[in-house]
């Protein structure tokens, strides 16, 4: 059963029925927060959050673990943990940041647990399909020029489309630091990507 069919099979999902299935961007903060509050009891709400943030959570996880299957596990674990959240203030919280913070913590946890395996390049898992393997290798080759923090910032900015302020909050670092690290990271990446494409 796919997420989409699960979603449409939901019985009490009237307010969600008009939302685009392919939407990859987060809705207004209020809606996301409301969904987080409901997702412990409503499968539809959880499914909607999954649809909205699956890509972002995966990106965060991949930037930390550099492993396709671990990142997939991280997506699962993040949304399971999200469904178990007891307290979430919908007036204060920024739902997207909240979800990505969980994702980052889960990914760091998984990486810590499987650290020895991950550092061994041979065991790195790039997924099954040809395209997945190709993309995994490309991203990993590119991101390996960055250190841990730079990699996370680039992914949070480029793939999760967070603002520097939001990234600063998630990574508990000053906004100016995040900006300077991002700038440095992008310079390195452009340089390296240029070299790679020239070689090709």
């Amino acid at each position: 059963m796919t997420a989409d069919t699960n979603f449409s099979a939901g019985g009490d999902g009237i307010i969600f029925a008009t939302l685009s299935q392919n939407s990859r961007t987060a809705g207004p903060i209020g809606e996301v927060n409301q969904l987080i509050i409901e997702c412990s009891t409503s499968k539809e709400s959880l499914c909607r959050l999954y649809e909205m943030f699956k890509d972002n959570v995966f990106a965060v996880a991949f930037s930390i673990t550099a492993d396709y299957h671990l990142s997939e596990d991280c997506v699962t674990e993040t949304f399971v943990r999200l469904s178990q959240v007891k307290k979430f203030s919908h007036t204060k919280g920024d739902g997207k940041g909240f979800i990505l913070t969980i994702a980052r913590n889960v990914a760091l946890e998984l990486r810590r647990r499987y650290k020895r395996e991950i550092t061994d390049d041979v065991i790195l898992n790039y997924g099954e399909t040809e395209q997945t393997v190709e993309d995994s290798i490309y991203i990993n080759q590119l991101l390996r020029y960055l250190n841990d923090k730079q990699r996370q910032i680039v992914v949070l900015k480029c793939c999760a489309e967070l603002t520097f302020k939001e990234i600063a909050k998630i990574m508990r670092a000053p906004e100016t630091t995040i900006k300077s690290r991002y700038k440095r990271a992008i310079t390195i990446l452009q340089e390296k990507a240029g070299v790679t494409s020239e070689k090709e």
Binding site: N6, L46, D55, T129, C158, P174, R184, I186
Partner: protein
């Protein structure tokens, strides 16, 4: 950022996003999530004749055929009964389990602590349990309290930390006791995993490892905080009080021994009594004298914590007032901006102890009249318990700070909960980033030079050209100071090493003579017995 750069950046960001989205497009795990998030309740299986075993398929587990199941059970029995007990792995495991069982009993652990601490060189710290729980980072920087909080009053902890000179190792024992310390007042014991052999300690002693201070905390603070009148402010504009301390810990994990030079930066932005702290620790790990960036320090590496009934005494959750935050950035730890300066109240050359207990200054107006003036100290901060770490504690201030209303000094209230807080005044003759180096001793400078060289030579590609130039300037400044120091310091260090070597040699000769003497006496006695 130039316009062209911006466009290039946007294109690059778009490309990366597309690639990453392509990667995650194949991820489809909502079934797994739903099965774990909503077990049973949300599923109605009454019509589908599914059994419990069949349900397991939803979580991705395969059903095994009954025949396979029996075959695997039989094979497992053969393995357990016939093969495994004879293997080395099993005997090792058995030994380890037996060893573990021994160690986790309260009495055994207590007797181990007693014998260990009687023979080895240990620092002993006594402090209230609640203080250790709350201020763990200031007491044992890499370990939190192994005991949970108690409803009883007057519960204390005694820590035994194995030392090499005045440098800590991570071989730590902790005992929780009630009231005054005695064997009968102990209610729980704990032990860290690290266990140094006497040979290892002897080798480390010969290496003459010392506690050294670092500039990483000040560099991070100067990046994190900015100056606003009398206050240091964080990115939100809130006033903060920030400090750091540094030192050396010899860390053993498994068979690996590493010298860890650390710098812990911490700050609070509320009233000290109620506020919690944010902190982060920067480490440089040296294995066999070489900087090893890949070494990861296993924090909170306790082996066991048991109470009188031999039950687990570890706390359910942390009660620490210190919350870890990312304070040390990737930025150069040697770039100290001029927006802050530091005062080290416990290093006596920088600050002078003045009054204790209350926030009043006794001003001698005339020879006979003394006026006590209530005031707020410029900074209030808790500091490490261990003297060697305490001495390195620096409190940071903005260079825009104004003079005190009554005095030309900055007043710091610093100390620990159970020993009390002390007021220090320091003359506002503060230090610039350059002065920081000129105040350092020979060992600190040598350590800073070593780190800088490693940064330039090994990690140089991570820095911009400007940063590298600055780092080289700093290195040359440090080296010039080292040259000034070196004549005297090097001679005294060499003399000390020579004296120690002579002492060891003398000791060895004396031991040998005693052994020969004892042998002779034994032989003489046995000869006499034979003659008789």
């Amino acid at each position: 950022m130039k316009k062209n750069d911006l466009i290039e950046n946007q294109e690059f960001e778009k490309m990366l996003k597309e690639k990453m989205n392509g990667l995650s497009a194949n991820v489809d795990c909502f079934d797994k999530i739903a099965a774990r998030a909503f077990p049973d309740k949300s599923e109605d299986f009454s019509d589908s004749e599914l059994t419990v075993n069949e349900l397991e398929n939803i979580t991705g587990k395969h059903r095994r055929l009954p025949v396979l199941k029996w075959v695997s059970v039989a094979a497992a029995l053969v393995l357990v009964a016939g093969v495994l007990p004879k293997t080395i792995m099993m005997s090792n495991l058995k030994q380890r389990l037996m060893h573990k069982q021994d160690k986790t009993t309260y009495r055994e652990l207590l007797s181990e602590i007693k014998s260990e601490t009687e023979n080895g060189s240990y620092t002993i710290l006594d402090l209230p349990l609640d203080e250790y729980i709350a201020n763990d980072v200031l007491i044992t920087p890499f370990y939190s309290c192994p005991f949970g909080s108690s409803s009883k009053n007057n519960m204390n902890v005694r820590l035994y930390i194995r030392t090499v000179g005045d440098v800590w190792t991570n071989q730590i024992y902790a005992v929780e006791y009630s009231g005054e310390y005695s064997e009968s007042s102990i209610v729980a014991t704990a032990s860290s995993k690290a266990d140094f052999s006497d040979k290892e300690i002897e080798k480390l002693t010969n290496e003459q490892i010392k506690n050294v201070s670092s500039t990483a905390g000040m560099a991070a603070a100067s990046e994190l905080f900015s100056a606003d009148g009398n206050n240091l402010i964080d990115e939100n504009g809130d006033a903060v009080t920030a400090a750091d301390f540094s030192g050396t810990v010899i860390y053993k994990s498994g068979d690996d021994i590493c010298t860890v030079y650390f710098d812990t930066l911490y700050y609070h932005n509320g009233a000290m009594e109620n506020g919690s702290y944010y902190y982060d620790t920067h480490t440089d790990c040296y294995v066999d004298g070489v900087l090893d960036a890949s070494y990861i320090i296993p924090e909170n590496d306790w082996k066991c914590s048991v109470n009188l009934n031999n039950n687990d005494a570890f706390p359910g959750s942390s009660g620490s007032a210190f919350e870890r935050a990312e304070l040390f950035s990737d930025a150069n730890p040697f770039m100290i901006s001029d927006n802050i300066f530091r005062i080290e109240p416990f290093a006596k050359s920088y600050a002078e102890q003045m009054l204790t207990d209350d926030k009043k200054l006794d001003l001698f107006l005339t020879r006979q009249t003394v006026s006590s003036i209530p005031f707020e100290p410029t900074a209030e901060i808790s500091v490490p318990e261990y003297e060697a770490f305490q001495k390195t504690t620096s409190v940071f201030f903005p260079t825009t700070i104004q003079k005190h209303e009554y005095l030309d000094d900055i007043i710091i209230m610093a100390g620990t909960q159970h020993k009390g807080y002390t007021l220090f005044y320091a003359n506002q003759d503060f230090k610039t980033s350059d002065d920081v180096y000129s105040e350092m001793g020979f060992d600190d400078l040598r350590y800073q030079a070593q780190i800088l060289e490693a940064m330039i030579n090994i990690h140089g590609s991570q820095f911009t050209d400007d940063q590298l130039i600055d780092m080289k300037k700093q290195l040359s400044r440090i080296n010039s100071l080292i040259i000034k120091y070196s004549d005297y310091e090097r001679t005294s260090a060499e003399n000390q090493a020579e004296m120690q070597a002579e002492e060891i040699q003398r000791q060895a000769e004396s031991d040998e003579q005693q052994r020969i003497k004892a042998e002779k006496t034994t032989n003489h006695k046995s000869d006499q017995t034979v003659t008789r």
